[in-house]
Amino acid sequence: MGNKEIQESPVLTHEDFKSDQMVKWCPGCGNHAILNAVTKVFPLVGHKKENYVVVSGIGCSSRFPYYVSTYGFHSIHGRASAIATGVRIANQKLSVWIPTGDGDSLAIGGNHFIHIIRRNLDVNILLFNNKIYGLTKGQYSPTSEMGSVTKTSPFGTIEHPFKVGELVIGAQGTFFGRVVDNTPKFITEVMHEAAKHDGTSVVEMLQNCVIFNDGTHSIITDRETKDDVQLILRHGEKMIFGKERNKGIALDIDGLKVVTFDPNGPIPDEILVHDMENPSPGVHLMLAKMYPPQFPIALGVIRSVPANTYCRLLADSITHAKANQKIKCVDDLLNSGDTWEI
C-alpha cells in the first residue's frame, strides 16, 4: 500500500460496496435506506476500498457490516466504539464507521459512547434511533419517550429519555448531524459531511421500526406536515422553514423562538444564520433540543467544529518521543539505568 494517503484510489461506485449477503432486515425497515446511503457515500469519501472498516455491536442496525463489502467486525453489545477505538489507533489510514442503535450506544454502551466523543477519536458513528429495542422484540430503550407503552412498560415508561444531540454536545462532541430515514439523498449529503469531519462524528438517524414502534417519528415525517416541522439547516444560511417558507428561528432572552413573517417581504434580521462551526455549544444545543409541536426538528449538520483529534495528537507525541528520547530500541531499554557485570 506504500505510504500514500487517501484519495488515490481507482474510481469506485455504489455497486463496489454492496455485499453478496442477503439483507435480513424487515421489509419496510428504515435501515434499508440508510444502507443504500452508506454504499453511496463510501465512493464519495474517496478512500481505497480496503481502508474502510465497519465496526458494530449488537442490535438490528449492528448487522450492517455483513451488508457492505468492506472489512467488517460485528462484535458484542455496546462495545463497537471501544473496538473501533483500537482499530483506528492501530492504523491511522483506516476510515472507521460505527453503525449502532439507541440501545447499543446509549444503554449498554453509554460509557464508551461518551468517551469516544470526549476524545474526539476519528470515527463516524451512525446512530440508528428508533426509540425501541427491535432485536429483542419490543422493550423500551433509553430514547423512548416518557410514558411509552412497550412490552416491559405496559403502563408506560417512567424514565426520562436521552436526547442524542444533548448527550453528544454534553460530551464535547465536535460533530452532530441528524437525518430521517426517508430522505436518502439528504442522508448521503450529511454522511459525507460527517466523513469529511476530523474527529468523532455522530449522525442521528431517526429510523422507523415498522414492527415494534411503527410511526414513532411520524410527527416529523408525515408528508402533509413535514415541511412545517422540519428545519433543514445549512451552514451560512438563515434558519427558515415551513411549506410557505414563512417561518424562521430567532433567539431572545428566553431561548429560541419561532418567528412567522411574510414570505414575499424581506427576511427579518432577527432570523438566525446557521453557523455549524461556532465552538460555543449554546445555539447548537438549543437547536438539537428543538422538538415538535412547539418547534420544528432541526435536521442536517447541527454542529461541526474543527478540533484536535486523538489520533493526530497521539501520532505527534510518538513522533516527538522518537525524536527526543534516548531509548531507540528494546536493547537500549534493557541496558538503561543501573546495570552491572557479574
Binding site: H74, S75, I76, G86, I89, K328, V330, L333, I342
Partner: protein, 611 residues
C-alpha cells in the same frame, strides 16, 4: 571507640523496613536492595503495603513495609527477617511474627509516646517492659537525630522530620559494610530535580552510618557471600516492569506495533505506567474508560494488525470475560495479563494469591479455550510475557498470562538478554490479494487461521461474535458446523503443546515423590525441595509455566512417581485441573489462601510429612 567488631559471614540475610505508609519505607528498601545488588549480592525484594494511600497515622492498618533478601542465591523473599527496621510501635507490633529470636530490631524510640503505643494496641512500652529481651534491640532517638542533622543543613523542620528513613538506612548500610558512595548516587538520581533535598538526605544517611559506627550497640556486622550466577550483565527488575519489557521486546521482534489498552488496577498498574513511558519505541498506550474498553480496544487493534495487550487484575478480568470470548470466537491474537491478587471481589488488593486460574481456564460462556501461561518469578515475567505475545500472534488465539502481586511488585536480579537472541515470532499474515484467502481457512498442521489485516488490498471480510462457517466465515447456525468450529478452536490450542518446551523435572529426579507447583511460587517450592534433598531425603520438583495446554510430556513425568504433591496458593485449582486432564494419577495437595507467599519452612514440613 573501638570499631573492631565481630564479622558474621552469611549466605543470605533478610532485612525488612516497616513504618507508616508515607514514612518512605519503599524508598529505603529500594535504595538498600540496589546498593546490595551493586555490592555483588543476589537480591529479591517485596513491597508489603496497605491499600490505603495514607491510612491513619501510627495504626496497624497503616503499616507499610519493604522486605529485601540479599545473598549468594535469593530465589525467595525469605521467610523471617534477620534485621527489622521499625519506625513506630504499630509497625513493630505488626511485624514481630516475621522475625526470629536473636534478630536485630532497630526502632525509633522517639515514636514510642503514649498515644502511639495506645494506637498500636500496646498496654505497656515494649522497649522497656522486657518483652523484646530475646532480640538485639537498638533504640536510638532516630527522629531527633535525623531532624537535627537535616536542619543543620538548612532544611525546614517539617521536611527535616521526614528524613528519618535515611538515618535508619545509614545505620543499616553500616551493619552490612556497604560503600556510602552507592546510595549517594542513587539518592542523586531519585531527587534529580531537587539537588538540595538530595544533599540533605545524603548528609542524614551519613549521620546514621556514623552514629551506628560510634555507638557500642552493634557488636557484629554482616559479611554476605557474593552472588553465584552465570556471567553476564545484570540489573534489578520488578515483575511488572519485566512484563512491560517482554511485551515491548515481542513487539520489536515481531515487527508489530504494541497496542496496550488498559484501565489502572492494583497490582497491575505499573505495567501500564511503564509502557506509557516508551512512546519512542512506537508503543501506543490507551488508558481506557473501563476494563471492558481496555480489552475491546485491544481486540480492535489486534484486528487492525497490532500486537494487542490488556493488563489487569482479577476484578478486571471478570469484567473482560465477554470480550475474551469474542477474541476466542474471532480468533484474534491478544495478550491478557492478570497480575493476580487475593479475591474474590475486591478482596485484598495488595495481597497475592493464585486463585484466578479457574477463571483463566474456564471463565467464559460457551466452549472458549484460551492459552494460559504463568510467570514463575519477577525476572521470568519478561520471558513469560514475550512467549505469551509470541504464541498469541502465532496461533491467532488470546493468551492469558498469569503473574501475581508478589512477583509483579517484587524484584530480583535479571540477566539482560539481547533482543536478537530471543526466539523469532512469525504471525500468519495473509498477503494482499491472496486468491486462496478465506477468513477461516486453517493451516492443516496447526489449525491456525490467517491474519488478514484491514488496509490490505483484496482481503475484505467480516468477522464477529456470531458462529461462522468453517473456512468461509459466513454466519451460520448449522449444528454440525458449530461442533466442528468448537473442536477446531479447542484442537488449535491443544496442538500448541507440540511447540512449547517440554516439562522439566529438577531436584532428585529418581525420587518416589514429585512436588508440583506453578506460577509465582517457584522460588519457595524450589528452595524447599533443595533443603529437603540436602538432608539426604529424595524429592523431585516439576514447576509448570504452561498451563493450557500442558506440556506434552506431563503424563509421562507423572507416571514415574508414586506420590504427586501439588502446592498452590488457592484451595486447589491446579490440582483440580490435573485431576480432570490427567485422571490416571493420584494427587496430594497443599494449599494456602492467606494472601501470603509460601514460607520455605512450611513447605519443608509438608514435603517431609508426605515422603
Amino acid at each position: 571507640m573501638s570499631t573492631s567488631k565481630q564479622i558474621i559471614e552469611r549466605d543470605s540475610v533478610v532485612v525488612k523496613f516497616v513504618g507508616d505508609s508515607g514514612d518512605g519505607m519503599q524508598l529505603s528498601g529500594t535504595l538498600f536492595s540496589d546498593a546490595a545488588a551493586l555490592a555483588g549480592n543476589d537480591i529479591a525484594t517485596f513491597p508489603d503495603y496497605p491499600a490505603e494511600i495514607r491510612a491513619p497515622h501510627n495504626t496497624i492498618a497503616g503499616v507499610s513495609g519493604f522486605q529485601v533478601h540479599i545473598g549468594k542465591e535469593t530465589k525467595i523473599i525469605g521467610d523471617k527477617c534477620d534485621v527489622l527496621v521499625a519506625m513506630n510501635p504499630a509497625s513493630l507490633k505488626a511485624n514481630l511474627k516475621w522475625i526470629d529470636k536473636g534478630a536485630t530490631i532497630i526502632t525509633d524510640v522517639d515514636a514510642y509516646d503514649e498515644k502511639a503505643l495506645e494506637k498500636a494496641g500496646y498496654q505497656s512500652n515494649p522497649l522497656t517492659d522486657g518483652s523484646l529481651s530475646s532480640y538485639k534491640l537498638i533504640t536510638p532517638p532516630i527522629s531527633t537525630l535525623a531532624q537535627e542533622t537535616a536542619t543543620q543543613y538548612g532544611m525546614d523542620t517539617k521536611n527535616a522530620a521526614r528524613t528519618k528513613n535515611m538515618f535508619c538506612l545509614g545505620m543499616v548500610y553500616y551493619i552490612f559494610n556497604f560503600d556510602l558512595d552507592t546510595p549517594g548516587t542513587l539518592i542523586d538520581k531519585r531527587f534529580k530535580k531537587k539537588p538540595d533535598v538530595a544533599k540533605v538526605n545524603k548528609k542524614v544517611l551519613e549521620a546514621g552510618y556514623n552514629f551506628a559506627e560510634t555507638i557500642e550497640a552493634f557488636e557484629s556486622r554482616f559479611q554476605i557471600s557474593n552472588v553465584q550466577l552465570p556471567k553476564g550483565r545484570y540489573r534489578n527488575i520488578t515483575g511488572n516492569i519485566a512484563t512491560a519489557w517482554g511485551l515491548l521486546a515481542a513487539s520489536e521482534r515481531s515487527g508489530r506495533d504494541l497496542f496496550l489498552g488498559s484501565y489502572p488496577i492494583t497490582p497491575a498498574t505499573e505495567i501500564l505506567i511503564e509502557i506509557a513511558q516508551h512512546k519512542s519505541l512506537g508503543a501506543k498506550v490507551f488508558q481506557a474508560e473501563d476494563e471492558i474498553a481496555g480489552i475491546c480496544s485491544a481486540i480492535g487493534a489486534s484486528f487492525a494488525g497490532s500486537l494487542a495487550v490488556t493488563t489487569t487484575s482479577g476484578p478486571g478480568l471478570s469484567l473482560k470475560t465477554e470480550a475474551v470470548g469474542l477474541a476466542v470466537m474471532t480468533e484474534l491474537p491478544i495478550v491478557i495479563v492478570d497480575v493476580q491478587r487475593a479475591g474474590p471481589s475486591t478482596g485484598m488488593p495488595t495481597k497475592s494469591e493464585q486463585a484466578d486460574l479457574n477463571m483463566a481456564l474456564y471463565g467464559r460462556n460457551g466452549e472458549a479455550p484460551c492459552i494460559v501461561i504463568a510467570a514463575s518469578s519477577s525476572s521470568d515475567c519478561f520471558y513469560a510475557a514475550y512467549n505469551a505475545a509470541k504464541y498469541a500472534l502465532e496461533t491467532m488465539t488470546p493468551v492469558i498470562l498469569l503473574t501475581d502481586g508478589k512477583i509483579g511488585q517484587g524484584s530480583e536480579l535479571f540477566r539482560i538478554p539481547k533482543v536478537a537472541d530471543l526466539p523469532a515470532i512469525n504471525p500468519p499474515i495473509v498477503q494482499p490479494n491472496d486468491p486462496d484467502f478465506k477468513p477461516y481457512r486453517r493451516d492443516p498442521e496447526t489449525l491456525v487461521r490467517g491474519w488478514a489485516i484491514p488496509g490490505t488490498e483484496g482481503l475484505q471480510h467480516r468477522i464477529g461474535g456470531l458462529e461462522k462457517t468453517d473456512i468461509f466465515g459466513a454466519v451460520s447456525t448449522d449444528p454440525l458446523n458449530h461442533e466442528k468450529m468448537v473442536n477446531n478452536r479447542y484442537e488449535k490450542v491443544m496442538r500448541l503443546a507440540n511447540r512449547i518446551p517440554k516439562q522439566e523435572v529438577t531436584g532428585c529426579v529418581d525420587a518416589d515423590t514429585l512436588v508440583v507447583s506453578w506460577g509465582g511460587t517457584k522460588g519457595s517450592v524450589e528452595t524447599a525441595v533443595k533443603e529437603v534433598n540436602k538432608t539426604g531425603k529424595k524429592v523431585a520438583h516439576a514447576h509448570f509455566s504452561y498451563i493450557m495446554p500442558l506440556p506434552s510430556n506431563t503424563a509421562e513425568i507423572f507416571a514415574k512417581y508414586k506420590k504427586i504433591l501439588v502446592c498452590e496458593l488457592n484451595t486447589g485449582q491446579f490440582v483440580g485441573y490435573l485431576r480432570a486432564t490427567h485422571p490416571d494419577f493420584k494427587y496430594l495437595q497443599y494449599n494456602k489462601v492467606q494472601g501470603l507467599p509460601f514460607t520455605v519452612s512450611e513447605l519443608v514440613t509438608v514435603i517431609n510429612n508426605t515422603l
